[in-house]
Symmetry: C2
Subunit: 463 residues, 2 copies
């Protein structure tokens, strides 16, 4: 589509020239996200205020123009790719931290602020905000809320849904709403805060968020445990999660990933290593010895080959180097790999890993797994070249079976990456028709004309 | 209303005689809850299975008969009083614990099981479910979820919204839905789990819930700190909440409440006591000394008259005796007192208490405050006799000003009791018209005919 002249004129009235792009070449970049998918927007607006967003959304309603809100485009599912063109709302210039209130453990910020900036503002007062995606330095708060993005710390401290008090937002109809409270308890009205979090910008555009802060623990220890195979490691995960000391990170790497690291980096690992856990425990300094001891005892299941606690910051970095060697190694082997982030209950991780091995063999695809074991959130990497039609077809067939396996193990298709456009055809494998119909009805209440990020999050008939 | 003959016949087909009441005298009791409000139901059904509820809701849709789901009636807001008669669905016979899965830290149960039974089943495996309302021995899981009921532990461990993974439910239209996941992460589809939690049975009837369990801490210490006045105590609360050791209970009692205890019980308190904090700290035994030390240091603000840690179980009981003496004392003075459960950000507690004192003087009403200070959740007790028209009028005027004060302090009208029918006229003080309209739209999607618990939770035009 291209925008009607009256709409272009109205945009130019609403926004100063430096906050609006309408030339195709200028707009091009804002058609991408980190899924590498692309569709060109017709215009890109950079609002700086809530009221501008209200006006922009109402204008789009008047002209029936789709609106795609976005942050910095670090998402991996194409959720911010403007499939139908129209207006992209880039929220990157709404990047103010409005209030840091340590007495009340809260921070209020606009959506365009980066996760890192939130952490820095909180840290000045001895606090942090738990969600910690790998892209923290670049990704925005609005994106974190749109996807319910988590990271390693979620195992102890939860996701954005557990760490957000309230929102200010603009619905798809252009109405200003406020959700939630400024307190850690509140039961007046329905919980629209959590409904909007994770809805991938399909219900409302968040213009302000009140975040719940957590005091920074005084100390942290890092452990690495190596296992003969993934089954042993998964039993250790279940044992660790069944005792009272909850680690603040419980990451795992499977045997194929260890092979990968061994081939492509100098990180040292025992020869028989079939799986590896990276564990972090935080808390008050005096309690850490005991806490680490409890975790070490739980980690020491049959098949545990070695377990060690880093004694210095250098050792911590050496331990994490193993984990960090993985992504470059995977990119070397398969630059366009498929990375899914399925979740299963912790005790089903061994069955998942076994099943994935079988599927990899059957479809002749190398599958490498790592991820947030404490949440059962496994990053499943299919090392294929999607530009090779045979491999692409094999991957498609394999992916369908991966998702069926995950669901048969009481799991879910995504733990933190979301649906966007790349997974939407699989959603109805997980969510039944009646529940999906209800979600579509809710979408309709927020966005009667279906203009807000159409074709995302929910399957086919969604808009 | 009275039920049409074909509906009564259909009910008798759907349910065995022992699971159905239709005689007015038999039904009477099921028209009450702990608000002491009453309206007589036309029939009471005691379903035992999800599919029976589907059939009952569809039958009510067919005959346009209101449905009021209820647990054990311990709610205080009239949320289960069947204002328009019709069918009461008493879920007390759906009381099975379906699965306890310690490896995955989850428990699946039906709504009629008591909170206590959930705790006992979890405790067998070393776990607990954090929500702990005072009525735990009698109140049901379904009620806890309907109100998002919390209790003292919420300050550290959160409310049902932070401790529930997924639900099975029947919408007002009679559709079976499943929400959420069996894992601690999941971002597929919209978050209907939290939307239904706290919706007071106005959106859907919960028939099964997957609860997130937490490992029981190995040890706990109880502290009591006494302050010259409420301002000093509130500063202590803010200081305690700003350091890393989060107490598992942080309760307070104001000066008027202390006077009350002194007059009506033998609990010992220093003469100059203007406010009191009861604090509990849990964790691993080795860490407790340090943790208690941190909390004691934070609690020791200007105006702290004394602070002590209970050295034995008897001492713990002695400390809690003070807190527990309060309710009987209040009941002695004002059997029909009004008890609100407002919330303000922690640092605004002193302003709230000061403002309440002024309001009490202006309206000639004794106001006694206690509650969950760590969450800013204050139980405001207006000691009046509602049967005295002058006092009732004063209370009404005072209550309106209490709520305005709370909102001016960035607070919310209810932290855990909910809205029910008694607070619904005040909801629009807190939630703006556009947001309320959206909530009503969502209600309509779940319950197109407006039959599910009508006239509750949302104000006037809600159904």
């Amino acid at each position: 589509m291209s925008l009607p002249r009256p709409m272009l004129d109205a945009l130019a009235e609403l926004l100063p020239a430096e906050d609006l792009l309408t030339e195709a070449g200028d707009c091009w970049t804002y058609g991408y996200d980190n899924s590498k998918r692309h569709a060109p927007p017709d215009a890109v607006a950079f609002p700086r205020e809530h009221d501008q967003i209200v006006a922009l959304v109402r204008l789009c309603n008047e002209h029936r123009v789709p609106i795609t809100p976005r942050g910095r485009g670090t998402g991996t599912t194409g959720a911010t790719v403007p499939l139908r063109g129209g207006l992209v709302l880039s929220l990157e210039r709404m990047d103010r931290i409005i209030r840091v209130d340590p007495d009340n453990r809260l921070l209020i910020a606009q959506p365009g602020v980066t996760n890192l900036a939130v952490q820095q503002a909180a840290a000045e007062h001895g606090f942090f905000w738990p969600p910690d995606p790998t892209s923290a330095a670049a990704c925005t708060l609005g994106g974190n809320l749109a996807y319910n993005s988590a990271g390693p710390r979620a195992v102890k401290y939860g996701t954005p849904r557990e760490n957000t008090l309230g929102l200010r937002a603009v619905t798809g109809a252009g109405d200003s709403i406020r959700t939630g409270v400024m307190t850690t308890k509140g039961v007046v009205g329905y919980d629209l805060t959590r409904l909007i979090i994770g809805s991938e910008g399909t219900l409302a555009i968040i213009t302000e968020a009140a975040l719940k802060l957590t005091p920074k623990p005084a100390a942290k220890r890092t452990l690495q445990a190596v296992y003969a195979d993934m089954t042993a490691a998964a039993h250790a995960v279940a044992a660790i999660m069944a005792q009272p000391v909850v680690p603040c990170a419980l990451e795992f790497i499977d045997g194929a990933a260890i092979e990968m690291i061994r081939s492509y980096s100098k990180a040292e690992l025992p020869a028989a290593a079939g799986a590896l856990l990276m564990i972090e425990v935080d808390g008050a300094p005096a309690s850490l010895d005991e806490a680490v001891g409890e975790v070490m005892r739980a980690a020491d299941v049959e098949g545990c080959l070695s377990a060690k606690v880093a004694g210095s910051q250098q050792e911590v970095e050496a331990l994490w180097a193993t984990r960090k060697a993985l992504s470059p190694a995977l990119r070397t082997v398969a630059p366009k790999k498929i990375n899914e982030d399925v979740v299963v209950p912790v005790s089903h991780i061994p069955s998942l890993i076994d099943g994935l091995r079988t599927l990899g063999r059957r479809h002749d695809i190398t599958i490498v797994n790592f991820g947030h074991a404490g949440n059962g959130n496994i990053h499943v990497n299919l090392l294929i070249d999607p530009d090779d039609p045979r491999q692409a077809a094999a991957a498609e067939a394999c992916l369908q079976e991966v998702f069926e396996l995950v669901l048969s193990l009481e799991g879910t298709l995504s733990g933190e990456h979301g649906i966007g456009l790349v997974k939407r055809d699989f959603v109805s494998l997980e969510i039944d028709a009646a529940t999906l119909a209800l979600m579509r009805g809710i979408k309709h209440e927020f966005d009667p004309l279906g203009l807000l990020n159409p074709d995302k999050a929910l399957p086919g008939a969604a808009t």
